[in-house]
């Protein structure tokens, strides 16, 4: 009784309305392919169940023949059943191919949706969430949710459908025995779900400990240089061993649990098999069932039992995937970066500014608090009543102590964040009259740590302007003092950069980033500490590249090195 109640509650919990809504919404992503997809599942299931049923009829005719000592009527059923078997297999194949195509395409659709969403969030999201963290979570959720399309739903539906399909011939062979078998299977089902919760809990504890263990191992491996120099090796191995031993202890207690479950299953299996056969023989002796039907029934019972127990296994798996889908929808429903920051109009400065001023910043306040979450240390305004004007074609150095808001200024100019108060303009147009796309079209940005994509050098530079030709790429590289070292590489411009551009030095990467900015041919060039991490030689090469660009472009350089500052026309001091 208790089990039944538990069972009911379990089912109710699983089938909460939200989950159902999520599930339907997720299936809805398939669009008009959904009927084809479901039809394919049905066909493949029929094919699969059909051949197993055919097999049981085959056994029946053979055993009957043996019992009757009469082989005359064997050949036809054998061939017939084999034919049915082959037809069912082909049916299954047809269904499964269609199903896989539809499922995979659907999964691809979901992925496109998610990844394009991931590229459109407000910048504050990327600052507050470490990219590899949220991406690995996202990819995990996407894969898990897509599993609904590519495996989970079919498995569950197939288990339910074939359970029903098997029951029909089973009842036909002997309804009394079948009822008895169904009863035992229900008991197994109940026992399994009784163990499900503690096993899941143990699984969570195991994976937690495993994480700790991995962390310790990671510490040992990535801290190897420290281990050699500082007396810390013994402690770290000790910690790793302790974590390992704790993991072992949890493993041991989990083992007892899973052994309990396994033996319980085995017990029911034995009871099922032995009682079934015993009871069956008794029925045979009573003449209520033939030996052939009994054997056929037994062979079907095995398949039925697996399909039936699969329901209990696949339903929670399905629910887990739906939970992932829910997380995915939460992500998809997140607000994107708007086309334009809607700002309160500021009364004192609404009009656009004269042509000769390239950039103008007036009385700008900005604080990261307004973005909801501290990307920067501490609260308060990072910029307060900040103003500056930059003439067309000038070379401006922006200086100031660390944390005073130099980089923030760059991000505001790029429209990464809305300003708290004040106004900005570029090329004579007020920011509030421009879309973010338009603003960024006017700026070529070189960040402190240049990011190079995992593509060829030529492609990395060409990202600066869509459709740039090879000649233009080379010209830009020359302007950025990069052409020489690129041609020295074995693959030249087609060298594919490794993870995070690892194969190049910092100065080389920076110069490729500058080439990318050059090819953009935007009126404003914005460099954020572009040389601070470089050695003297690389720095002078980068500096020279920037100097060459002076004149027809407005250059804004955030810097702290005296050599950089000395080259500028104007120095703007932020903060202090």
């Amino acid at each position: 009784m208790g089990n039944c109640w538990r069972e009911g509650e379990f089912m109710r919990k699983c089938m909460q309305r939200d989950d159902l809504n999520t599930f339907f919404r997720f299936m809805g992503l398939m669009g008009d392919r959904l009927p084809v997809y479901l039809g394919a599942i049905l066909i493949s299931t029929i094919g699969d169940a059909g051949r197993k049923i055919a097999n049981s009829y085959l056994i029946q005719s053979i055993v009957t023949a043996a019992q009757d000592k009469n082989v005359d009527n064997v050949l036809l059923p054998v061939l017939g059943n084999f034919a049915v078997f082959v037809v069912c297999l082909l049916l299954w194949r047809f269904g499964i191919i269609r199903y896989n195509i539809e499922g995979r395409t659907g999964a691809g659709k979901v992925e496109k949706l998610v990844f394009s969403k991931a590229m459109r969030l407000p910048m504050s999201y990327y600052e507050q969430n470490h990219s590899s963290d949220f991406m690995s979570r996202l990819i995990f959720d996407t894969q898990k949710a897509s599993d609904i399309y590519t495996s989970r739903l079919r498995r569950l539906l197939a288990a339910v459908l074939s359970t029903v399909a098997y029951l029909i011939p089973m009842f036909y062979f002997s309804w009394e025995l079948t009822l008895c078998m169904v009863g035992i299977s229900l008991l197994v089902f109940a026992a399994d779900s009784l163990f499900a919760k503690p096993l899941k809990k143990a699984g969570v504890r195991l994976s937690d400990k495993n994480k700790v263990m991995l962390e310790k191992l990671t510490s040992i491996l990535s801290g190897m240089e420290l281990i050699k120099i500082f007396p810390v090796g013994a402690r770290l191995t000790q910690e790793y061993e302790t974590a390992g031993r704790e993991y072992y202890q949890i493993q041991k207690s989990t083992n007892r649990l899973s052994a309990g479950l396994e033996s319980l299953n085995q017990m029911f299996d034995l009871i099922g098999t032995l009682a079934f056969l015993g009871l069956g023989i008794w029925f045979v002796s009573l003449g209520r069932v033939s030996l052939g039907a009994l054997t056929a029934l037994y062979s079907l019972y095995g398949t039925f039992r697996y399909a039936f127990l699969d329901i209990g296994q696949y339903l929670p798996q399905m629910m887990n995937c739906i939970a992932n889908a829910e997380k995915l929808f939460a992500f998809i429903d997140m607000e994107e970066e708007p086309e334009q920051w809607t700002q309160e109009p500021v009364s004192d400065d609404c009009q656009d500014i004269g042509e000769e001023i390239m950039l103008s910043v007036r009385n700008v306040d900005f604080s990261y608090d307004s973005l909801g979450g501290g990307a920067c240390n501490g609260g308060g305004n990072v910029l307060e009543r900040f103003s500056m004007q930059v003439r067309k074609g000038s070379y401006v150095a922006v200086v100031g102590e660390s944390g005073c808001g130099k980089s923030t200024l760059a991000k505001l100019l790029l429209g990464f964040y809305p300003v708290g108060a004040g106004s900005m303009s570029i090329g004579g147009k007020a920011y509030r009259n421009l879309t973010l796309h338009e603003i960024r079209q006017l700026i070529a940005y070189v960040p402190q740590e240049p990011y190079l994509y995992e593509a060829s050098i030529a492609e990395n530079i060409a990202y600066g302007r869509y459709g740039a030709s090879r000649e233009e790429v080379i010209a830009a590289a020359k302007a950025a003092n990069a052409h020489e070292f690129i041609t020295r590489l074995p693959d030249g411009y087609d060298t594919v950069l490794g993870e995070r551009g690892n194969t190049l030095s910092g100065g080389e990467r920076q110069r490729i980033a500058i080439a990318r900015a050059v090819i953009r041919n935007a009126p404003v060039m914005l460099l954020d500490e572009a040389t601070s991490a470089l050695d003297n030689e690389s720095e002078s090469l980068v500096q020279e590249a920037v100097r060459k660009l002076r004149g027809n472009r407005t250059i804004l350089m955030i810097a702290h090195r005296p050599s950089t500052i000395a080259a500028a026309d104007v120095v703007v001091r932020v903060g202090g």
Binding site: N55, A65, A66, Q67, F82, V86, L89, I101, G108, A118, M119, M123, Y126, S132, D133, I139, L214, L217, T218, I220, L221, S222, M224, K228, I229, P231, V232, R235, Y240, G244, Y248, N255, A259, S263, N265, M267, L270, I271, T273, L274, L277, I281, S285, L291, T295, G302, E337, S402, Y445, P447, Y451, Y463, G464, R500, S505, R516, E529, S532, D535, S563
Partner: protein, 567 residues
């Protein structure tokens, strides 16, 4: 690893016994029922009460055997993993640093972690499954042989074909899965790439371009998946047909044997039941082979690490004796070195220099000239190929490595912090450091005020789950670590290269404080930081090209003067 497998072998033995027991019980039950069936068909009236007691016994014993089988098998796996981990952890820290440097600790790590996973899977799933399947097939075969040898002959005669097909199929499937996997990886990498470079993507309006690229990779993946499903589903159809034919043949042959009177109808019944029981195991054994092949690769790699030689421990000098100030801290004479011992790509060629105790010495030179290599050799991470190296007057070979390294502390540009608290990260500079010592070290390193300002102070976690520290803060923590270690020689690897002006000042202060009274060796890319060094060695082409102090070197108008003019 093999040792761990053997040491815990008794568990495996118990597991095997339990599995055999369980199979015997099942076969016994079958036998009992086959007899009953024959009696019924023979028209006898059977007394079912005589069946009940043995059946109940079988169920009880079978359940117990199953419990034992599961628990012994899983315990075995857990024990082997525990032992492997324990010995591996100890072994890893004793390996020479060069091993990690050459292979790149990142790649060792990912490999090792996935290999450990695979190892766990081998002992917890693959091996027990294989054994269970083999036991099931063997016990059933023995039983069937007693019943009718010919039956088993037919079964095994028709199976080789199936084995070959299954083997081919499983290889093909593995290949397809791998191909799909690489498409998936490409897809994820592309997305990662776009997000990691979001600042560029955003500021260059690359959304449309990148979306198109990502979509194309996804489409390729879907296409590959569709191609795979056509091939693999055909494979499954073939496999099913081929595995079914021997079964039908077996049934028909059993029918024939019954007609001939060689086996009874009851025995035929038992045969069909057992056949259905061992069909899956036979198939699984074949598929197991593939798993074992895969696991084998991982096991081999772990053994490779296992067999890697540990660092030497034969040095006889274990403590630094109080040598007079007149003994140079370091003396190199004609040192040559090449990574991997390749003569053509020598990094250091016949390098000689002295570092006097208590002075400040700097090494300058372009990038890739081997300055960092000098540090690695000083600390004994690598052995030089030729030449002499004396540390405080003693040949380096006579030093115990640990003792030699205790003479050095290092502050470098790449600061590694262990995941843990700030306290732990500083305290690792010295064994059994007290709270006062840690705090004092942090004060000296100009980082105490910052730590104290954190809500959790010294207990603040750093690393992935803790606070993110700036480059300058990390650097000062590493200086505190060096203070605590209190080693006579301080190695400075461009400590202020990547920080801004304000941070640079604080670090500079801390560095000056720790440098006073010690022998200091600096590697510098920025010449402004080493103007005060007592002696400057200019490294060029793996040799010392120029020597002198700042003024002397400028007068020489050589490499140094040129570099200085550029900066």
């Amino acid at each position: 690893m093999v040792r761990a497998g053997l040491r815990n072998g008794y568990m495996l033995l118990l597991f095997i016994l339990a599995a055999v027991g369980l199979n015997e019980i099942i076969l016994l039950g079958n036998d009992l029922i086959a007899q009953a069936a024959d009696e019924v068909l023979g028209g006898q009236q059977i007394d079912f009460s005589t069946f009940i007691i043995p059946l109940v016994w079988m169920i009880v014993l079978g359940t117990a055997a199953s419990y034992c089988k599961s628990i012994f098998g899983n315990h075995y796996s857990a024990m082997v993993q525990r032992d492997v981990r324990a010995s591996l952890g100890k072994h890893l820290v004793r390996l020479p640093f060069s091993y990690f440097d050459e292979k790149g600790s990142g790649s060792i790590m990912t490999r090792l972690i996935s290999d450990m996973d695979e190892l766990g899977r081998f002992f917890s799933e693959i091996l027990p499954n294989l054994l269970v399947n083999v036991i099931a097939v063997v016990t059933a075969t023995i039983y069937l042989v007693q019943m009718d040898v010919r039956l088993i002959a037919v079964l095994f005669a028709s199976y080789p074909v199936m084995l070959v097909v299954a083997d081919r199929l499983s290889k093909k499937l593995a290949w397809l899965a791998q191909k799909l996997r690489s498409h998936m990886d490409a897809c994820n990498e592309k997305a990662y790439d776009a997000i990691q470079g979001i600042v560029i993507g955003r500021s260059y309006n690359l959304y449309e371009v990148q979306k198109k690229e990502i979509d194309a990779v996804i489409d390729q993946k879907v296409e590959q998946a569709c191609k795979s499903t056509r091939i693999s589903s055909m494979g499954w159809v073939l496999k099913n047909i081929i595995t079914t034919i021997p079964v039908i043949l077996c049934y028909l042959f059993a029918l024939y044997e019954t007609m001939q009177g060689r086996i009874t109808v009851g025995e035929m019944l038992a045969f069909t039941v057992i056949l259905s029981r061992i069909l899956n195991p036979i198939g699984d054994i074949v598929f197991c082979a593939n798993d074992i092949r895969e696991a084998g690769v991982s096991l081999k790699r772990i053994r490779e690490i296992d067999n890697q030689e540990e660092e030497r421990t034969d040095g006889r000098i274990h403590t630094l004796s109080q040598a007079g100030a007149d003994v140079p801290a370091i003396e190199w004479n004609g040192v040559c070195f090449a990574y991997g011992g390749s003569k053509e790509h020598a990094v250091l060629k016949n390098m000689s220099f002295r570092v006097e105790t208590g002075t400040q010495t700097a090494f300058v030179g372009g990038s890739g000239e081997g300055k960092t290599t000098i540090f690695k050799l000083l600390c004994g991470f690598y052995d030089r190929d030729e030449g002499q190296y004396r540390l405080f007057g003693h040949p380096f070979e006579e030093w115990d490595l640990e003792a030699a390294r205790s003479c050095f502390s290092e502050v470098s540009q790449n600061v590694f912090l262990f995941p843990g608290t700030i306290w732990q990260n500083v305290a690792c500079g010295k064994e059994h450091a007290t709270d006062e010592e840690v705090v004092q070290a942090c004060r000296n390193a100009n980082i105490h005020d910052f730590i104290a300002s954190l809500p959790e102070g010294y207990e603040t976690l750093v690393g992935e789950r803790g606070v993110r520290l700036s480059g300058g803060q990390r650097q000062r923590i590493s200086i505190a670590r060096a203070f605590l270690k209190d080693a006579p020689i301080l190695l400075l690897d461009e400590p202020t290269a990547a920080v801004d002006v304000e941070a640079e000042q604080k670090i500079q202060e801390a560095v000056e404080r720790i440098a006073s009274g010690r022998t200091v060796i600096v590697i510098a890319h920025r010449l402004s930081t080493i103007r005060n060094a007592g002696r400057i060695y200019v490294v060029n082409g793996g040799k010392i090209a120029e020597t002198g102090n700042h003024g002397e070197l400028l007068e020489r108008r050589g490499i140094y003067a040129e570099m200085y003019a550029k900066g």
